[in-house]
Symmetry: C2
Subunit: 155 residues, 2 copies
């Protein structure tokens, strides 16, 4: 059935971020939906952010469009233009190449749940983390001096 | 701001379906999100289905992955395998090339709201409507004998 049985899809809080950048995403529990469904053109994650957790380090993508749909709860969207509250029913879009580092922080007392869909060229994709000494491309994570972190990036 | 001001995005119930196939989608009001946001790799629509309305005629896509996230309310998903109820928080995925005609019908007494994201090759895409005498490709709508309907398909 095309309706997903979310409970049957493995959920993880794994991250390839090197320490200490991994700490704020320990409370981010996600399910990768594309492998489960056979989709090859669109990727998607179903994400539960526990109170205090971040969706990611603040970042942007060169060659990937991202679209977020908030389903339950709320989180604060932070980007170069400031902060805004994202609540159930809100939709957020980040077009490829827009160098506006963004992430969500769950500052509420309850989990929030959202889906992020993404499409584009994962081979040529890359981007930056404006708040920390890190950039990324399809090979992994790097310091801004070009030296690579030893962790493996999770696609 | 990447958070979308949905109320400011034009909403329409326009359809290119020829009569009488257009009738069940008169209560489908949608906003196209990609033109608003500058996304070129991912397309998305924010859809309000009034009671009684259908999301589309039952169809499938050859070269487009589709992902639906139900935000508010409920609708019945119908495909070749039967019927299932889709409620807030449910996610439905239709991978490109899976010849399983699908649509949603709002059989409830209240509107439902969902977002559909899609990615793939719109030039080569096409597909079929298993319940009616219609197929589609990037050129428009056709009868199964190959003759074209006179209406314009809305991409």
């Amino acid at each position: 059935m095309p309706k997903l049985d979310l409970a049957s899809i493995p959920q993880t809080n794994a991250t390839g971020y090197p320490a200490p950048f991994d700490e704020p995403v320990q409370g981010r529990f996600y399910r990768r939906l594309a492998p489960e469904t056979g989709m090859e053109k669109l990727r998607a994650s179903h994400v539960v952010l526990e109170p205090g957790a971040w969706s990611s380090q603040r970042h942007w993508h060169r060659d990937i469009d991202e679209l977020l749909v908030m389903i339950f709860g709320e989180a604060v969207l932070i980007d170069d233009t400031g902060e805004s509250l994202v609540t159930a029913g809100d939709v957020v879009a980040w077009p490829a190449g827009q160098e506006n580092g963004h992430h969500l922080q769950n500052r509420s007392n309850a989990p929030c749940v959202f889906v992020v869909a993404a499409a584009g060229d994962y081979q040529t994709d890359g981007g930056e983390y404006p708040d920390i000494d890190m950039v990324f491309n399809s090979e992994g994570y790097f310091r801004k001096d070009g030296t690579q972190y030893e962790t493996q990036r999770i696609p």
